[in-house]
Symmetry: C2
Subunit: 498 residues, 2 copies
Amino acid sequence: MELNGALAGLAELQKKLYAYQMASGMLSLDAVTVAPKDTAEGRGIAQGVLAGERHKLFSSPEVGELLDFLWDRRDQLDQLRRRQVEELRRSYAQLTRIPADEYMDYAMLVNEADDLWHRAKENSDFELFRPALEKLVAFNIKFAGYYDSAKAPYDALLNEYERGVDMKYLDEFFATLCRRIVPLIHAIGEKRQPDDSFLHRHYPAQAQRKFSDYLMEVLGLDRAHCAISETEHPFTDGFNNKDVRITTNYDENNVHFSMYSVIHEGGHAKYELNVSDDLQYTCLAGGVSMGVHESQSRFFENLIGRSRPFIEAIFPKMREFFPEQLEDVTAEQFYRAVNRAQPSLIRTEADELTYCLHVMVRYEIEKQLIGGTLAVKDIPETWNRLYKEYLGVDVPDDRRGCLQDSHWSGGAFGYFPSYALGSAYGAQMLANMERDIDVWGPVSSGDLSQVSEWLREKVHQYGGLLEPGQVVKNACGQFDPSVFADYLEKKYSELYGL
Amino acid sequence: MELNGALAGLAELQKKLYAYQMASGMLSLDAVTVAPKDTAEGRGIAQGVLAGERHKLFSSPEVGELLDFLWDRRDQLDQLRRRQVEELRRSYAQLTRIPADEYMDYAMLVNEADDLWHRAKENSDFELFRPALEKLVAFNIKFAGYYDSAKAPYDALLNEYERGVDMKYLDEFFATLCRRIVPLIHAIGEKRQPDDSFLHRHYPAQAQRKFSDYLMEVLGLDRAHCAISETEHPFTDGFNNKDVRITTNYDENNVHFSMYSVIHEGGHAKYELNVSDDLQYTCLAGGVSMGVHESQSRFFENLIGRSRPFIEAIFPKMREFFPEQLEDVTAEQFYRAVNRAQPSLIRTEADELTYCLHVMVRYEIEKQLIGGTLAVKDIPETWNRLYKEYLGVDVPDDRRGCLQDSHWSGGAFGYFPSYALGSAYGAQMLANMERDIDVWGPVSSGDLSQVSEWLREKVHQYGGLLEPGQVVKNACGQFDPSVFADYLEKKYSELYGL
């Protein structure tokens, strides 16, 4: 083997991995957007084959040799190639520990589970989903051992979504947040809540669709490269930096649900669209970690989208989309309504303040599930108990309880903490951004370009070129969750006159 | 190798081919339905890789050995397996003659060409599409040699879409039709045309969408297995017999355009959905040939959909969807309007009678293009000249001329004649069906189940299990294009009082 040939092999390998990922992602996207309902069988077969082919390709001894050859010569490689080899070697080591048949079975299971979860949620019937979930948990515990047998299984899974993060780190992180947030929530509990009844007037889906188009424009999302469609649970799929899809869900009696899901997914989309061209079709093309990704989505959703200047900027236009519904509402009333802090049932509808407690419920359950101290059959009971304990709310059914999120049906255990981490990263980025540029002047006239440019420069462009920790350091400095707590304290003290 | 192992290998090979086909088909479907506009690059890379991987898989010497091994033992195989091996050997022989790099380049070219064709059509700018079309033609001439070097190139391509059909056969076929149809068209030219102005009133897309849902119900298409979406050019994608997609296009000033495209694509969909379960995920899963496929789509579109009993059956319901637009219209007037025979510009909007002349234009051009006697740059001129000659119409621009169809941009040369063949097959099937069952009683009450069942039994269920010629014989008896001519003569004589 000589170096140039090996480098060509490296590029080709990554192109192939990209193609399998895109094909498989497209089948998944289709499944939840336009596919007819009873089509899981044929898609499952295709997904299983694609996963198997990708696995065979990536786990071959030749790939191992290629990567070793290049790693031995890493001093001769540029930063881009060196980093690609480093990342691929890490993935290769993991993958080659998972037997091919288990890997294929898992891909088919995830496909089936998605379908079952949808039905289970629709009918609020946990039993329908339970057998699949049990298999998913068992697979993940087994896979955790393949990932890093020296770690506790849940630590190994957490490391997949946010490298370097473990239960010890998160226990402390959540303890800090709890210590600062819970008293705030209690204090707010004593106060009079702002009226938000106008958010629940009838907002026709068709008008909301047009409003989404407007929001995408405000966010600076180029529709020639970013499409929006509708799914049960909103998400973002970034195939490459010129092809990103976001989804939302229109609730005709909750205008803010889709509004903030579009801004949230728009934040993810901006990240994917801004990754630099030279990282495309390589293993470094996407966002660097789930936590950093969530920092971007929640940055736009909360720090910008739920800020007074932003709402004042877009509210006049919003009244054009919903003239009757918002006839008697001011921007200030709207601002207060969408920032109403009140313990509730649904994570994706939760306010900025109580949100982290929703994440903590899931974190506690995952910790026990993967740790082997909680059986899948006991999830509903535990879920309901923790919601009562942390948030003080009674869960009326599993649809609004442990079946509300799609993550577990997709096999994602260890993902949820990223949402809370992302919120905290984002708050610290804002603090730094405010030191660097005039944030609120432009935002108050609906111009997000400077904010976007700061994030592009500090975070987005790097894709996976830097380690997650480096990106966080780049944009946050030394990570300190109390910056997030300070932000929440200041915002909610003003809102509720504490 | 022992037989059971080889049979397992046969099943696995076909599952893999199915998966690649589905993945690639899904990327194509996405491209023309929901993908953002400027996303061709990343999709092209993925399509190229998938085509290459599929090619590598299918063209490997091991596959050749497997197929030879099974072919040598064909007496020990059941009909299903024997037929699979026969078909796969044919495809293998062809594929292994195409060099892998040419195959991949072609896949990428088709992806690009689709995008270019869309833009060219939008701007009526043939030059934009010309370079890609030149490459497509060159590739197809080369591929024709790989398919069957003993045949003239266009004969080799025709054989791909309808095995056994060649230029000699088609020249005669079209001559027969011409001899019978052209006098009819001339005779009609002397007659007063029925009023069809009400078809061009304003029919809002939203109401047309609901009408499409109704039509799919009448056709007996199960929405849990068949979705409908919107594209420039309507088409059908059958991934398997439980997952079929049709598309249509709503023209707010031509209600019959989408109406008949839904019924046409619905006919294709019924075929794919009725192929028997034991053929799924094998090379025999889809319709047997383009001609037979078109016989089914045009059967529903014209023989049923443009029949008086069918229109009388659905018209009352249609008036519910379009109360104002059809207020002063009777079923009889509607029947006459959608059967108005008049030379026109657009094939997909052409009436049943002049339709074959549109096909003849394309047949003549393809014959010369692939035969090397016509240059791509001269297509517009030739197209316009032939439209004048055959149909007596002046083509005002390439958008309504040689850029109207998507087939060439998809690399399909030799496909068009299938439309005319399909029409003729369909007419003969109807004649036989009328001998077997009461066709018009149930249809006149909107019940297509008996018609569907006859077609399922005679045609659909077999998928690719029989040769195209056998299926035609099954349903038509000895093929005779004059049955189609008789049908047209009878129908149009009555309509125009000839």
